[in-house]
């Protein structure tokens, strides 16, 4: 592992060292293409295999075999000859495949012949009343602390939302002796029927048995309320209670920790800032890039692999990484013998449609009303957004001028989907018609001193100005 990139030019730069990025970098380096793998985290593994080399939770059973399967792929990448740099945040990428990366307090510019974006997914915003209160976190945040630090909740804890990761996290917390007082399941009842046509593929996929066993394990230990149609967090300066409605009945639970989760969505910022074309995905209710079978995007030389290409899960991420790597290898060496991974990829994606339909979050948990905060950074409410629509804001980019939404440090990551859907509904348009924030580099805030310390050649200056 090195501190700054050793070279200015690479055959392949892979951004993100989760399942997709690790698999891709291992393969391109294996074919002797000069490969640089950059990741913002302190170690490899991405979200699913977070802290795979450093977790204090060593007992195999606690995190499960799917977690530990990452150790082998991380090792293969390390041994592959790829140059791997951690704590390296990519803040710009353009259509000339020039990459700005912040590492060790300074910035560097590098150029690639091919770029594979493997920046994965983030949890979908869950804008309920009180979701900004201290004590309200995402389920993924709790899982991150569990994997990296062995920390589990020990205070009155409510877990609310839906999706496979919610149950996985619950099982992991319980196995480590953590506390969950109540699970509030928001899966809309109608989804069970809507998902039926996709059930066969799911029942014959590996998810099925594992998922069922996990739900049983959790239900045996924690009270679960299903069919939750409303949720709110309240407290004075910190979370004190969670109110919910299920079956038309309103209840309030005392709580110090509320963990929210309603699925994951592609992390689009870097790809969109590079100009990659995205479209609204009606099934997954998020933006997904327009890609060919190998992950190649609308911009020559840029491929996207893993959950950033549309949510497919960790196994699919690995195979998408290999498909993108194969395409990069073919482009560099047309006579290289690259095996076709499409059968493996198809198998890994099997059953996904069922999960997408079953766990499509209900409208009231995606499109908030009234005083509920939409933009956490600028503290803009749903009503503020609707008021701006009433006086002429037509889409997310006009809204910025009225309300600064999306202009805070998170750059729309926690409000973008909500703003698009909220404005689409208010204006009677589709999310595709309403569009998304126009994103620009830097996609992560960098310090001015970093820009000042950049090499002052023409190209570097151009890249910044272009941004």
């Amino acid at each position: 592992m090195s501190a700054v990139p050793k070279h200015e030019n690479y055959d392949v730069v892979v951004i993100g060292a989760g399942p997709a990025g690790l698999a891709a970098a291992e393969m391109t380096a294996g074919f002797a293409l000069s490969t640089l793998l950059l990741d913002e985290n302190a170690g490899p593994g991405g979200q699913v295999w977070r802290a795979i080399n450093s977790t204090p939770v060593k007992s195999e059973a606690l995190l499960g075999s799917d977690y530990w399967s990452g150790a082998e792929i991380a090792k293969a990448a390390r041994d592959s000859g790829a140059e791997i740099i951690h704590r390296a945040t990519v803040w710009s990428l353009d259509r000339n495949l020039e990459i700005g990366v912040s590492v060790g307090g300074g910035s560097a510019f590098i150029k690639a012949k091919r770029v594979i974006i493997a920046t994965g997914a983030q949890e979908r915003p869950f804008p309920i009343p009180g979701w900004t209160l201290p004590g309200v976190m995402t389920a993924g945040a709790a899982q991150t602390m569990l994997k990296s630090s062995g920390l589990v909740p020990d205070c009155p804890t409510v877990l609310a939302g839906q999706g496979p990761l919610l149950w996985l996290l619950a099982a992991q917390i319980l196995r480590l002796g953590g506390r969950i007082d109540h699970i509030l399941d928001t899966t809309p009842r109608a989804n069970y029927i809507a998902a039926l046509p996709h059930a066969f593929a799911f029942f014959t996929s590996p998810y099925f048995g594992k998922g069922l066993a996990m739900m049983r394990e959790v239900r045996a230990k924690v009270r679960v309320t299903s069919g939750v149609t409303e949720l709110a967090a309240s407290g004075n300066g910190k979370l004190e209670s969670v109110t919910y409605v299920a079956g038309g009945k309103r209840e309030t639970l005392p709580a110090e920790l509320l963990l929210l989760h309603q699925g994951v969505v592609p992390n689009v910022n870097l790809a969109m800032a590079a100009g990659v074309e995205h479209r609204w995905n009606e099934l997954q209710l998020c933006w997904t890039p327009v890609l060919d079978a190998f992950g190649n995007s609308s911009i020559a030389g840029i491929a996207i692999a893993g959950d950033g290409a549309g949510i497919g899960g960790a196994q699919a991420a690995v195979w998408r990484g290999r498909a993108a790597a194969g395409s990069a290898i073919k482009a560099a060496r047309s006579n290289a013998k690259v095996s076709d991974v499409s059968p493996q990829l198809r198998r890994a994606e099997r059953g996904r449609a069922f999960l997408d339909v079953l766990f499509q979050p209900a409208k009231q948990f995606r499109i908030p009303q009234g005083d509920t905060i939409v933009c956490r950074c600028e503290e803009i409410t749903a009503k503020d957004v609707l008021d701006s629509v009433a006086i002429g804001a037509t889409g997310p980019n006009q809204l910025k001028a009225y309300r600064r939404t999306g202009m805070g440090p998170c750059q729309g990551r926690l409000c973008g989907l909500t703003v698009t859907e909220l404005m689409a509904e208010a204006r009677g348009k589709t999310p595709q018609e309403i569009g998304y924030y126009r994103l620009r580099a830097p996609v992560k805030p960098i310090m001015l001193s970093e820009l000042a310390s950049l090499p002052k050649n023409d190209e570097a200056t151009k890249a910044v100005v272009r941004g």
Binding site: Q47, R87, M137, S149, L151, K238, E379, G408
Partner: protein, 86 residues
């Protein structure tokens, strides 16, 4: 290892991020937002929400959830607007 929060020593584990160490410390580590002064704690722990912003060794607006702890680190909780010069 030991890190300092507003001058108070706390124990952190190697491999913890600054945010995890702060949350585990039991201290009141809520920051105040620059817009309204509302109290916040880390929300996502994976670098997307920016609710973990802290001052680390005098440098403000760092994402505490992405920075590993280091011996002797000085952490300050941000209260409202980022102070000039940090």
């Amino acid at each position: 290892m030991t890190i300092h929060v507003e001058g108070h020593p706390i124990t952190a584990r190697e491999g913890d991020t600054v945010s995890a160490a702060l949350l585990a410390s039991g201290l009141d580590v809520r920051r105040a937002t620059a817009v309204s002064g509302a109290k916040r704690l880390p929300y996502c722990m994976m670098g997307v929400c920016f609710d973990c912003l802290v001052t680390i060794d005098g440098v403000g607006n760092r994402q505490g959830c992405l920075v590993p702890v280091a011996e002797g680190m000085q952490i300050d909780i941000q209260k409202g607007k980022r102070e000039i010069g940090k």
